[in-house]
């Protein structure tokens, strides 16, 4: 029996392993087997339920905490720019039955604008650089050079954000403010869009530095995914295009990129999600200035996430709990933005991958 088994199994190495090592439980052990199956099933089901339960818990806590603030702050929370905690040692006022310190007024417009601006800058910088890097790694450089470099790029994604922030605020920011920003600010013409690049350049903490730092943080995500995608593009269509007389750039633009477009969009939006929610690095390099929207691209600013981390301490001193509640409202706003971005990415990827499949794609 055993030799017969061996003959039948010797085709595949793994089956040999079973035949040699594992004696599958016999029928007499049916109950024990069943118990092991049940154990796997139940524990795996419980474990996959836990993240779901945690998510619901987080959303419920956030919504409950944000509700009082939402009642008082009203819809102008989205458009107003003031961030006044009021007199936390003075009289307590009630609005719509919610207690808050006299004179408190909160508006999240500068935070929303800061979040969108920094993430926008990061995307504008990171997307072309990532695609270029992916092309350089897959098509231009020899394997022996490309492999260590792509390993380095992947590792960059794992560097803690607090360290990127430390480098940004103590080394990159001052360097840019001393050598690069003044050069740009003094030579940019005074026309509508580029006017934003003129004016005082500050000390290196602000909008553009935050955007650059975020760009550096999301490049590894986009670049390594794009590189993997480019490697999956089969050689035949590219060779066919070249045989028809396409140049390198035309092959890239008309064959390679369209082939994996949905994947690139997915990776980009993944990076956008990370940029929107990034906290510590932005809190370190943004200057953390509340209450106004920067008038040029170098000005100090803050984002929703950076505000929560830098204001939670002082919000806890508000005896009425209104400041804490307002931060929950800001957090809920950030969560809604990031979740919408995430889900939108999934639907874009699904739709475009259904549509853009070129002929002959297996």
């Amino acid at each position: 029996m055993a030799s017969e088994n061996d003959n039948a199994m010797s085709r595949s190495r793994s089956s040999m392993t079973f035949a040699r090592r594992g004696t599958p439980p016999r029928r007499a052990n049916a109950r024990r087997r069943h118990r092991e199956d049940q154990l796997w099933r139940v524990s795996a089901r419980v474990a996959s339920f836990l993240p779901f339960a945690g998510l619901i818990f987080v959303i419920v806590v956030l919504a409950l905490k944000a509700w009082p603030a939402a009642q008082v702050n009203g819809p102008s929370f989205l458009t107003s720019s003031s961030w006044l905690p009021g007199n936390t040692y003075g009289a307590v006022v009630h609005t719509h039955g919610v207690a808050h310190p006299a004179g408190s007024a909160y508006g999240a417009w500068p935070l929303i604008a800061g979040t969108l601006e920094t993430s926008g800058i990061a995307l504008i910088i990171a997307l072309p650089i990532s695609i270029g890097t992916a092309f350089a790694l897959t098509e231009r450089l020899p394997r022996s050079i490309a492999q260590p470099i792509s390993f380095f790029v992947e590792i960059l994604a794992g560097i803690p954000s607090v360290i990127i922030g430390l480098w940004g605020v103590l080394q990159l920011g001052p360097f840019l403010a001393a050598h690069v920003y003044p050069l740009v600010a003094n030579h940019v013409p005074n026309v509508p869009v580029l006017r934003y690049f003129r004016g005082p350049t500050g000390y290196g903490e602000g909008l553009l530095t935050s955007g650059l730092i975020l760009g550096l943080m999301i490049v590894p995500i986009i670049a390594s995914t794009t590189r993997d995608l480019f490697q999956q593009v089969p050689a035949l269509p590219k060779e066919g295009a070249e045989a028809l007389g396409f140049t390198d750039a035309e092959v890239a633009r008309q064959v390679t990129i369209p082939w994996v477009r949905s994947g690139i969009i997915g990776a980009t939006v993944l990076g956008l999600g990370r940029a929107l929610g990034e906290t510590i690095a932005v809190a370190m390099v943004s200057g953390s200035i509340l209450g106004h929207v920067s008038s040029n691209i170098y000005g100090t600013m803050t984002t929703i996430a950076a505000t929560i981390v830098s204001q939670l301490d002082s919000a806890a001193t508000d005896g009425t709990g209104f400041a804490i509640s307002t931060l929950a409202e800001a957090g809920l706003l950030l969560t809604v933005i990031s979740v919408i971005v995430n889900l939108a990415a999934r639907s874009i990827v699904r739709r475009s991958s259904a549509m853009s499949a070129p002929v002959g794609r297996s």
Binding site: P25, K65, G158, I308, V309, G331, T335
Partner: protein, 296 residues
């Protein structure tokens, strides 16, 4: 004849665009590599001249002293995350890849859990930290302590672990499962002896990356683990835990030079720790790729 040639751009222009494209790809690579090298070397170069090994064995005094408490605290937090998030994440990945069946209505079960994991993986970390502070530390009177920190960090990294486990399991050839079933192995036994064994490198890689994330995270810990200058007590509740990223975050903008040294020392330890984890995970990936059977 002329009609045909006129409808195409000039060859010299196309050739120029092509070389411009080649140059710009290399320039893009330079724009990634140069700042990244500057980042890593910048931290190392500023930390190493002031580095003393006694940092690892002396307790912190806030803006001066050593980092022993922070180092031990970070290791304790990483260990806790490995146990908590590791077990939940791997089991969730097994559920999604192996055990979730196609229901009678044609939709796979576990869709809602997959959605939850996707949403959670894009969740802003500071919001999780806020909820940990408000609901666990204050609401349940747990205080700044280990358990809320572990719960919040685990919520952050479980999606990573679950997804890497799922994709590792999906790469196990179906023949293995069919072979196991043909030999009469029950599902659970085959999972333990055959499927998990060959998916192990992928799972370990996911765990190592999750550990690197947990060790380098700051925002969710600031308001859950608290801060202390003493060694972690291993009590789950009411005792704050120190961790390395806290000292980077609080000491970089202190006025004294000593504080800057502490900040850069903590950053150096973090970089070494995280890079080691990532390199090890990478080595596992390349080794298993080299030895894997290349069929299918």
């Amino acid at each position: 004849m002329s009609l045909v040639t006129q409808s195409y751009p000039k060859t010299s222009w196309r050739r120029f665009k092509s070389s411009a494209f080649r140059v710009s790809t290399l320039a893009a690579l330079l724009f990634v590599i140069a700042p990244a090298l500057w980042l890593v070397l910048g931290v190392v170069v500023r930390a190493v001249p002031h580095w003393q090994w006694s940092v690892l064995t002396t307790l912190s005094q806030g803006t001066s002293g050593g980092l022993e408490n922070a180092l031990v605290g970070t290791l304790v937090i990483m260990g806790g995350v490995l146990v908590l998030a590791g077990s939940v994440g791997v089991l969730a990945g097994i559920h999604l890849a192996e055990l979730a069946h196609v229901r009678k209505n044609g939709r796979p079960s576990g869709t809602i859990f997959r959605l939850a994991i996707d949403v959670l993986s894009g969740f802003p970390s500071i919001v999780l930290g806020y909820v940990g502070y408000v609901a666990l530390c204050v609401g349940l009177h747990w205080g700044f302590s280990l358990l809320p920190a572990l719960l919040i960090l685990s919520m952050m990294v479980v999606p990573y672990i679950a997804k890497s486990t799922e994709s590792a399991l999906r790469q196990v050839p179906t023949n293995y499962r069919e072979g196991a079933e043909a030999l009469g192995m029950p599902v659970g036994y085959a999972l333990r002896k055959v499927v998990l064994k060959s998916a192990l490198p992928g799972i370990v890689t996911g765990l190592l990356i999750a550990l690197a994330v947990a060790g380098g995270e700051t925002a969710p810990l600031l308001y859950t683990a608290g801060a202390t200058n003493s060694l972690p007590s291993f009590a789950l509740l009411h005792h704050p835990v120190a961790y390395l990223t806290y000292y980077v975050w609080t000491d970089y903008n202190q006025p004294t030079a000593e504080a800057h040294v502490v900040s850069y020392d903590a950053a150096l330890i973090l970089v070494v720790m995280v890079l080691t984890l990532l390199v090890v995970s990478r080595v596992i990936v390349t080794r298993t790729q080299r030895h894997s059977e290349s069929y299918r």
